[in-house]
């Protein structure tokens, strides 16, 4: 079941030196799964997420042969119609809760406002829903947190609040842009568990944008590796360590590892040929479809 289908997506920005293409013709389908998007800064992974939500600001130009949410085209919709999709059907969690929450509104008011904008309804009902969402993201005393301002909560809590807010309208797709890179490892596991449960229980599709290869290998079902605005390789997450593209291999090798000490870390030697050339697609049919 395909939730989102993207073909030949391009995002370009006119500059004084000519057109700069941030995303150069990428295609993928998202089902009810955890799809990891990995790449270095500047590889176009965040821009892909923004393009799907129609958040690329002029003078940026988004083109695609196809961009469909459950069969309906969503490319370059007028802002009014996009607003009905954004937040309600496709939601996005940004990297840093510090810059995504309104500093002068209490957390409760923000969640209630976001929820009523999408689902309507009376304030008391929205408040109940907000409390329920905060509990769902493992916040222990939701009553207190509802009355708190963003600066009164920790980074990890802020990130969970963002997730609660994004999930209140029950979206079909969640785009999470580096949702855990500002968090400590212990909180990270908690936040990932929450997202994992939502994919399993609600059948949500998750696009998980990250630069952390090991995390993606363990958390996601499938991975797209991006380099210079293109997808250079797609493969099942559990096979990430058997990647065939030299870029993916180079990224993996450049990570220091506790279990395999080396004197010097291998350094990635970038090749111009990676910018062009075909995507290495691993056949996704496994020997035992559906498992043993």
């Amino acid at each position: 079941m395909t939730l989102l289908s993207v073909r030949n997506l391009r995002v370009s920005f006119p500059t004084r030196q000519g057109t700069f293409e941030a995303v150069r013709g990428i295609s993928f389908d998202l089902g009810r799964e955890r799809l990891g998007v990995v790449g270095e800064s500047g590889s176009g992974k965040s821009m892909t997420g923004r393009a799907i939500l129609g958040l690329v600001r002029p003078p940026g130009i988004v083109t695609a042969d196809r961009m469909e949410l459950e069969g309906q085209p969503i490319l370059n919709l007028p802002e009014g119609r996009m607003r009905r999709i954004r937040g309600r059907r496709i939601s996005m969690v940004m990297q840093d809760p510090k810059f995504s929450l309104n500093p002068v509104m209490t957390i409760g008011d923000q969640i209630v406002e976001a929820y009523r904008l999408h689902a309507g309804g009376a304030k008391p009902a929205a408040r109940q829903k907000a409390l329920e969402m905060l509990r769902a993201v493992q916040i222990r005393d939701p009553e207190r947190v509802m009355g708190a301002y963003p600066h009164e909560v920790s980074g990890g809590m802020g990130q969970r609040i963002m997730i609660a807010m994004m999930l209140a309208p029950d979206p079909e797709i969640l785009i999470a842009d580096e949702p855990t890179s500002a968090l400590d490892v212990s909180v990270r596991t908690e936040v990932l568990n929450i997202m994992d449960r939502l994919v399993r229980d609600r059948g949500m599709g998750l696009i998980f944008i990250s630069h952390d290869l090991n995390l993606v290998a363990q958390f996601c079902d499938r991975v797209l590796i991006m380099y210079a605005g293109r997808i250079v390789e797609t493969l099942a997450a559990k096979d990430l360590h058997q990647a065939r593209h030299p870029y993916t291999q180079g990224l993996l090798n450049s990570l220091p590892r506790l279990d395999a000490p080396v004197d010097r870390l291998p350094v990635l030697q970038r090749q111009d040929s990676w910018r062009e050339g075909d995507t290495i697609t691993q056949s996704l049919e496994t020997e035992f479809p559906g498992g043993l």
């Binding site: 212990s186 590892r257 506790l258």
Partner: protein, 250 residues
């Protein structure tokens, strides 16, 4: 090279006083690379800042090369011995100073002569060519900026480098380059490192020994062999090691 005994660091006054570091003690030998790990708020960066003289409110003993430090004033000799590299290369360089200005100002402050030759050799030390000398920070990538920040720290010809998360703002491929550079520089110049990181794998790669911090206290000092084999004595360290191995589905 560095001795820290019963170090307490606090911010603010009673009743709002926050004790960021409580009774921390460790020693770092000449030529050693020592890691400080822990979660955010555990006080690891605060220890570095107290050593560097960026925080006044501390008690206990800090001695560099056998010389105990005064709480507030640091003399010139101190800054010739100890230098610091900060986390965010996008924030630690003045946006309107060229690489040349950054390095020549530092060299002049350190009372060095022969500035022109020294800049050339500093740039080549950190793997930047002559072409970078008159560039501004916005014309450099994150990794190149961190190289400039390292060159600035090396300008004083220090013996002890304090590294505060030197690669956490960088991509993994660039992180590998910077870590290699730091290893090379330590070998060439006989430097001593104290490195703060939240990434156990990075500390495992770079350091000989490490201290694990939690809530302002050092809970465990261990060597890297013990870290690799997972021989932690404290539960907290074991949790940290387990969490750093990645995500295990619940």
């Amino acid at each position: 090279m560095l001795t820290v005994e019963h170090l307490n660091v606090w911010f603010g006054f009673d009743p709002d006083r926050v004790d960021a570091v409580k009774d921390a003690s460790f020693t770092v030998a000449q030529g050693e690379s020592f890691g400080l790990v822990g979660e955010s708020g555990s006080g690891k960066s605060t220890i570095l800042r107290a050593i560097a003289g960026l925080i006044d409110t501390w008690s206990g003993t800090i001695a560099v090369a056998g010389q105990p430090l005064a709480a507030r004033r640091r003399d010139r000799a101190f800054y010739k011995t100890v230098q610091m590299v900060f986390q965010d290369p996008y924030a630690s360089l003045h946006p309107r100073h060229s690489v040349d200005a950054v390095l020549s100002e530092t060299l002049r402050l350190q009372g060095m002569g022969d500035i022109d030759r020294r800049i050339t050799s500093l740039l080549s030390d950190v793997g930047l060519g002559r072409g970078f000398r008159f560039r501004y920070p916005h014309q450099l990538s994150g990794g190149q900026r961190q190289r400039v920040a390292i060159a600035r720290a090396l300008a004083a010809e220090p013996r002890l480098l304090l590294l505060d998360e030197p690669t956490s703002a960088l991509d993994v491929s660039v992180q590998a380059e910077i870590l290699n550079l730091l290893s090379d520089l330590r070998a060439e110049h006989g430097l001593t490192y104290v490195m703060v990181s939240h990434d156990l794998a990075v500390v495992g790669h770079m350091c000989d020994r490490l201290a694990v911090m939690q809530g302002g206290r050092i809970v465990e000092v261990m060597d890297v062999q013990a870290l690799r084999q997972g021989n932690a004595r404290q539960d907290y360290t074991r949790q940290l090691i387990a969490a750093s191995e990645g995500y295990a589905r619940a």
